[in-house]
């Protein structure tokens, strides 16, 4: 039996003490163990940012790519080897600024991977500029007078983009977060998981306490039906996005891979690269 300890490696994270990302890492490790994945069957693909370092802190395959492109790398990997469990992760700048296009198109595409955004409403690694998730009025190095753009609404965006799995967690609540990520891994399409992961160094507004005060837990909403998209949209709008839990899931929607015409039922990586002479000649015939 694997345990979360199997997903620990011997690298000491270079995050600031108290950073929310520690718990996101722990939750991914626990979730992977709970699902029963072997470390070598998991690949964590991450972006650039403080958050992006996460792929180096989990004992599994890890790929720390370039800013904003974790999702296409992750999808390419999953297409190559459908037997791997692929988790993409990165910051709010990574996923909602430079990576916004990929985020929305990945959601639409529904390739079976899990995407965990470590949302601290700030650019951590570059030392405290505004992020698309920074609230209006939030003062940062790049908006000393306060941000003047309404913040991106990840859950609404995901829902309107045809997401089949939308959830949100809070890094303080490792238990709930672990359960969410577990469900995300088990979901057979693209799972979109936004996680409030406080930056203790540059975000003095959206702190642990702030979230504790403002967050609603879906598990506390009686009779909430996560299979209902309208209801999902409603709860997100009502809580102004400050809600945690599995917000929406369509368990029946086929994943991208299930729909691609001709896509092999076995991992592409296991195929013999060389085609037969017969196949080769048939291709030649097209041009004769």
């Amino acid at each position: 039996m694997v345990t979360f300890k199997d997903f620990r490696n011997n690298v000491k994270p270079n995050w600031c003490p108290g950073c929310g990302d520690f718990s996101v890492q722990a939750a991914i490790q626990r979730a992977a163990a709970n699902v029963g994945i072997q470390p070598h069957d998991l690949a964590v693909i991450s972006g650039i940012g403080c958050s992006g370092r996460i792929s180096g802190y989990i004992h599994s395959y890890g790929f720390h790519g370039i800013h904003g492109r974790a999702l296409p790398i992750a999808q390419g990997l999953k297409m190559a080897n459908k037997d791997l469990h692929v988790i993409a992760s990165g910051g709010d700048g990574d996923g909602f600024a430079i990576g916004m296009g990929h985020t929305i198109h990945s959601i639409r595409r529904n390739v079976d991977i899990t995407y965990v955004v470590m949302d601290n409403q700030i650019y951590g690694l570059t030392k405290g500029q505004t992020s698309p998730r920074s609230a209006e009025g939030f003062k940062t190095k790049s908006t000393p007078g306060g941000a003047i753009e309404p913040s991106v609404q990840p859950l609404e965006l995901a829902l309107t983009s045809g997401a089949t799995f939308v959830a949100q967690g809070f890094s303080s609540d490792i238990k709930e977060l672990t359960a969410i990520i577990e469900a995300g891994i088990n979901h057979k399409g693209f799972s979109f998981i936004n996680v409030f992961s406080p930056c203790v160094t540059y975000n003095k507004v959206n702190t642990y306490d702030w979230f504790k005060e403002h967050l609603t837990k879906l598990s506390a909403v009686e009779g909430y039906d996560s299979t209902n998209r309208e209801e999902a949209m409603k709860v997100v709008m009502e809580t102004e996005g400050l809600v945690t839990g599995i917000i929406y899931q369509d368990e029946n929607a086929p994943s991208y891979q299930e729909q691609v015409p001709g896509y092999a039922p076995t991992p592409l990586v296991d195929q013999n690269l060389k085609m037969s002479e017969q196949e080769f000649n048939a291709l030649i015939q097209d041009f004769m």
Binding site: R8, N9, N10, Q38, P39, H40, D41, A43, I45, I48, R53, S55, G56, H59, S60, Y61, G62, F63, H64, G65, I66, R69, L71, P72, I73, Q75, G76, L77, K78, M79, A80, N81, D83, L84, G101, H102, H105, R109, Q257, V260, P261, G262, Y263, A264, T266, L268, V269, Q271, N272, L273, K274, M275, E277, E279, F280, N281, L283, I284, F287, M288
Partner: protein, 584 residues
């Protein structure tokens, strides 16, 4: 009897000009002729002049000629735009429908043939192209049976009646023309071909086919002229091999997705043109830094920016070598024929895996879209080499979570490669500088070791025939140098010049980077003048030669950047002018 026929059909885009050329060529191909075609078209969907110029020969041909023997015109514009290519020996066949007028200084006689009318009488004016083909057949004295196979193939699924109607259109075109021709019937007959069956394809087909033969099972791409046919071929064929194509949201996603797939162990690639390549520069750097194989096709077109998207140019050379920030090892391959396009694509995938780096297959519009005769590809020559791909059972069980040395500094400079999913080989991959296990590291000594290892890999490249050389002379007056589709025009020129007693050697660079310094050094040394011919304005290849080989004094840069390909006579004149100008 002609030793070569130069045939062109022209009209408005969206009017069936393409299929006219296509059917004519297919028939000639089946007779065993060698063909080389070039399409003139615009960046719009319907309307605007388009034409298709096809050179037919009983022997190898890899360039379009300057002149025309036959011009088939579906509108007046076709005559006005193309008549300068006509000589006294040529002829214009013009559709009666548009009441064609030959310009005063048109050297060739014009035959007005009721293409549309005849077709309409047979049921649909759409068949006017078949009538025109029939008329052409009369000039060439071709048996209409020659077209039966092609017509069967194209119209067969629409039923026997349609096939027959089309054959009738050809027949009537032949007859109507024959009547007008009188004595001249068959005057444009071409010397007989060998009757062998060969492929007839565009360069993009050869590249795509090569990719498939190399074992590609995944492609991620975003449409763009003149690369899209590669994606379209893969969309058609990959499902037969269990693979898939994802049309991505942009080129950045395409390149990074291809990296992801290669990381996963599946050969994957993307194809684009200038604007797309410009967007992929960061991804290419990632591939280089993380030592993940990546193959990208760049089908060059007229730049800069959106430029001349449907025109020939070779102006991305420098970008392909130097476009990425920082320093990575990178391979740039530039095939010049359909055959090379196929085999070099396979080489590209092998090298990408062997050296664990990005390989760019450079093409140009003329090679990518020009349709040419290609010798059937040889299955036995399809070799697949995956380099140091280590399997699980070759790896000792890792102790105490220590990482696998995926980036080990080895003697031959190549680190062992493992795929995610391998039980005993967990490691980290990052675009940040890292140690042998992939952990980020800023240590100066490690940095240097990893940089040296990565950049040093290029020394181990296993590329067959990096330069196509035809150098009959130990001491040459001229060494012609080119890359990509100028191959044919230079071959032609070499022959002409040799015939006028100028000693000419020819080198066509197939491996652009790492530059084949030695071969080129000795060829340059053997020549009085080095004439570098390229479709760009700044003489990029000439500059690369200056940088790598030197020879500044004997280098002559011949450039063309007006969107049109080099033509043999025109180029000969240009070179000769430089000769008499004392430059040579």
């Amino acid at each position: 009897m002609l030793q070569q026929l130069s045939w062109k059909v022209g009209g408005q885009q969206g009017e069936g000009i393409e299929s006219t050329g296509e059917i004519f060529s297919m028939a000639m191909n089946r007779l065993g002729y060698y063909l080389y075609g070039y399409r003139h078209f615009s960046s719009r969907i319907k309307g605007g002049h388009t034409n298709n110029k096809i050179c037919v020969r009983p022997t190898q041909v890899r360039t379009i000629p300057d002149d025309l023997d036959i011009l088939v015109a579906f509108d007046q514009e076709t005559i006005d735009v193309n008549y300068k290519e006509l000589t006294e020996k040529s002829v214009v066949l013009a559709d009666a429908k548009f009441s064609p007028v030959a310009p005063e200084d048109c050297k060739a006689p014009m035959y007005i043939v009721p293409f549309t009318e005849v077709a309409a009488e047979l049921g649909t004016s759409l068949m006017k192209n078949m009538v025109a083909i029939g008329a052409s057949a009369a000039l060439l004295n071709l048996d209409k049976a020659v077209f039966q196979g092609v017509v069967d193939e194209i119209f067969g699924k629409k039923g026997q009646e349609v096939v027959e109607k089309n054959m009738q259109a050809i027949q009537q075109g032949f007859e109507t023309m024959a009547e007008q021709l009188g004595d001249r019937l068959g005057e444009w007959e071409i010397a007989p071909a060998d009757g062998k069956h060969r492929m007839f394809m565009i360069g993009n087909d050869a590249i795509a086919f090569g990719a498939l033969a190399a074992g590609v099972r995944f492609m991620a791409a975003y449409p763009i002229t003149p690369a899209s046919e590669i994606m379209e071929y893969m969309i058609k064929k990959l499902p037969l091999f269990g693979g898939a194509v994802i049309q991505t949201e942009d080129e950045i996603a395409a390149a990074t997705m291809a990296i992801g797939s290669n990381y996963g162990g599946v050969r994957a690639f993307t194809a684009s043109a200038g604007p797309g390549l410009s967007l992929m520069m960061e991804a290419i750097g990632l591939s280089g830094m993380t030592e993940q194989p990546l193959v990208i096709v760049d089908t060059q077109r007229g730049g800069p920016s959106t430029g001349l998207p449907t025109k020939q140019e070779q102006s991305d050379l420098m970008q392909m070598i130097y476009g990425t920030h920082g320093e990575i090892p990178k391979v740039v391959i530039a095939p010049s024929t359909g055959e090379e396009a196929f085999y070099d694509t396979i080489q590209a995938f092998n090298i990408a895996e062997e050296l664990q780096l990005p390989v760019i297959i450079l093409s140009d519009l003329q090679l990518s879209l020009g349709k040419q005769t290609v010798e059937p590809f040889d299955y036995s020559k399809v070799e697949i080499r995956r380099g140091k791909l280590v399997e699980n059972d070759e790896i000792p069980v890792a102790e105490d979570k220590s990482y696998f040395k995926r980036f080990e500094v080895t003697e031959d400079g190549i680190s062992p490669r493992v795929l995610p999913g391998t039980e005993h080989a967990i490691h980290h991959v990052t675009g940040v500088e890292h140690d042998e296990t992939g952990k980020p590291s800023e240590a100066a000594t490690n940095r240097k070791a990893q940089m040296d290892k990565r950049l040093g890999k290029l020394q181990h490249i296993n590329f067959k025939e990096p330069v196509y050389v035809n150098a009959p002379y130990e001491e040459a007056d001229i060494l012609f140098v080119g890359f990509n589709s100028t191959r044919g025009v230079l071959e032609e020129l070499q022959q002409t010049f040799i015939e006028s007693d100028i000693k000419v050697n020819h080198a066509h660079i197939r491996l652009i980077h790492p530059f084949p310094v030695e071969v080129m050094h000795s060829l340059v040394a053997k020549a009085k003048k080095v004439v570098v011919v390229e479709n760009n304005a700044t003489g990029q290849l000439a500059n690369i030669i200056k940088m790598n080989v030197g020879g500044h004094d004997k280098l002559v840069s011949v450039t063309k950047y007006d969107g049109t390909p080099f033509l043999p006579l025109q180029l000969a004149k240009q070179v000769k002018e430089l000769l008499t100008d004392g430059n040579i």
